[in-house]
Each structure stands twice: as C-alpha cells, then as structure tokens.
Symmetry: C2
Subunit: 213 residues, 2 copies
Amino acid sequence: MSDKTYAAYSVEDYLAEAAAARPTPGGGSASALAGAAGAAMACMAANFTVGKKKYKDRWERVGELLAVCERARQTLLGVVADDAAAYAHVSAAYAMPKDTPEQKTQRTAAIQDALKKAMEPPMTAFVACADALAVLDELAGLANPNLVSDVGVAAALLGGALDGARLNVEINLAFLKDEACVAAARRALEQKGPPARDAARKTLDKVSHRITQ
Amino acid sequence: MSDKTYAAYSVEDYLAEAAAARPTPGGGSASALAGAAGAAMACMAANFTVGKKKYKDRWERVGELLAVCERARQTLLGVVADDAAAYAHVSAAYAMPKDTPEQKTQRTAAIQDALKKAMEPPMTAFVACADALAVLDELAGLANPNLVSDVGVAAALLGGALDGARLNVEINLAFLKDEACVAAARRALEQKGPPARDAARKTLDKVSHRITQ
C-alpha cells in the first residue's frame, strides 16, 4: 500500500483499483463505501431539515438522528481505509516461512491473530450500518419531505452494505479457530442483523409508498 | 458545480459533499456509487479468475461475465457525475421567472423537460445494476472460490443500488406529466426490477451458504 489511504483516492481511481486483480480494496472496504454513501444521504436529508424555519419543532430530534447517521458515516469512511490495512496483515502472515515445525507454529498463530484483526473493520461497518438503519424510519417521518427519496436511498444502500459487511465478517470466521471469538461474532451478527434488515425493508417500503401513491 | 465531476472527488470529499445541505450529489449519484462499488467487486472476482492457470477452462465464459460487469461499472461511474448535472438543470428550470402567463408556460415546459432528462441517469443506473445482477449467480459458480464473498458483496451492493436508483426514477415520475413517458418508465421498472431483486437475493443466499456451511 502507498501512504495514501483509500479515503484519499478519487472516486474513479478507487473503483478502478477495486475492480483490478489486486486484493485491496476488497469487499469490506467496498461495503463500507456503499454504507457511507447511504449514511450520507440520511445526513443530507437531516441537514435540509435542521435550520429550516418550517421544521423548527423538529430540529432537536432530527439533530439527534443526524448525529447517529453522521457518526455512522464517519465510522464507515474509516473502514474504507482500515479494511485494506487489515487485509495486508493477513497476507503478510500467510507469506511467513513454514519450513520448520517452529516456523509453522509461529505462522499459524500469526494468521489467526491477523484474521481476528481483519474481522474488526467489517464488524465495525456492520454495526455502523445497523445503528444508522435503526433511526431511518423515524427520520423518514420527520425529515423535510422534499428529501424523502434520499432517506429511502439511505435505507437501500445501508441495507446492502449491512449484508456485504456481514459476508466479510463470516469469511474471516470460516478460518478462525478461537471458538469463543467465533461464537461472540456470530451472536453479534444474529442479534443485530435481522432487526437492521427489517428496518431497511420497512423504511424502503414506506418511502416507495409515499413516492408512488 | 465546479468543473471537476464527482468522479474526480476524493472518496472522503465526495461523502462530505453528499452529506451536506446541498442538493448534489444526491440519491441518484450515491446509488450509482454504491452500484459501481458492487460491480467492481464482481470485476475483481472475475479478474482473479481469468489468467489463473487453475481456471483455464473457465477463462472464456468468465471473460464474458467480466465484460458485462465492467460495462456496468463504467456506466455507474458515469452516473455518479451525470446525476448531479441533471439535477442542476431541474433546479435552473424551477428558478425561471413566473410573473407573466407566458413565463409560466415556458417555465412549466422547461421543468417538464428537465425532469425527463433528470430521470435518465437513475434509469441508466437501474438498468446497469440489473444487467450486472443478471450474471452474478453464474459468476459465483465459476469465479475463483477465494473471491466468493466478493461476488456476494457485489450482489448485496448492486441490490441496494438497484432499489436506490428505482426510488430516484420514481421521485421524478411523480412530477412528470407526459403520460406515455411515465408509463414507459414504470414498465421498465416493473419488468427489470423483480428479476434483478431475485437475482441479488439468490446470489447473496448462495454465497452466505457457501461461506457459513
């Protein structure tokens, strides 16, 4: 990796690098990017509400929802870069020598350690998507109605990003041997995943209905 | 707008601009970005298959699937920038004077014309997402299995982007008065939407199953 994180790449260069036969940016980073784009749409809708006289009675609550979505956006932006760095550690561990029994033991331990760390960015992205999705239904009801389709877009993109982040946690779990760690991660996915998915679907359906009726 | 299209913005700056209380980049552009990130993951999986000796028997077919996904990626990248330009036309039309009956007529015609044009980028994004989604199930079966989670991420992100693009077509349709144009657009959404959604779900489920079994 160069010194430049993927957050500093142009959109065009990031996408070209993602498409190439190079491991990074990979699925964790791409999912975080899509989630950040979704969170940004929720922020835009909230930012077009707070400060507008017409919606003064809602400023306080929409401001709170905005803070949740803005935090998710920042977290997801962080993962766009982090996920690639985490992959580099896994890659380096797999490249360790395995000629002697001692080297093999060291290499296995390093791989396991790197995999655990590599799981963190997509898990962080997963939780950030779930956190933002949890407030979208309320935001769809309170935000400036001119921006309602953007709240729907937020639900659609964050829902897709949630699934993408989940796959990137699961692909690491498949190779992890620390059973307690695996069980804790699976619990997190199972607890937060279904309600977040439901929230995405509910907000998307509600917005679709409001637009097309 | 500055001379710089959103494709040339850094990822960080694009996302900050998207979150701000400024109309562009809006939901059409953000959906296209998420879709392009998804298409890029499909391209990466294909690019890690074509050229690898182990998968020589699949190069030809995976190369064809790659061409579909790469075209979708390029199209979606184009929409990231186009959608914002289209919005600028709508905005300019709404800002036209409406003091005399003649001005009102001209303004209404300009708004209708701009709305029709504004519908094109999200419709283009919608079709590009559907085209890429249509080949993902086959790609999941043929691509280098080390990249299977990335094909799943492609399905998740393109599925979300498809829904986001659809909302951005529908929000324009709600204000369009040309009934033939509205009917044609609704037909396209109804014909391409459900099979693309099903493809996204099917590929995502298949990949999840392969990872977690």
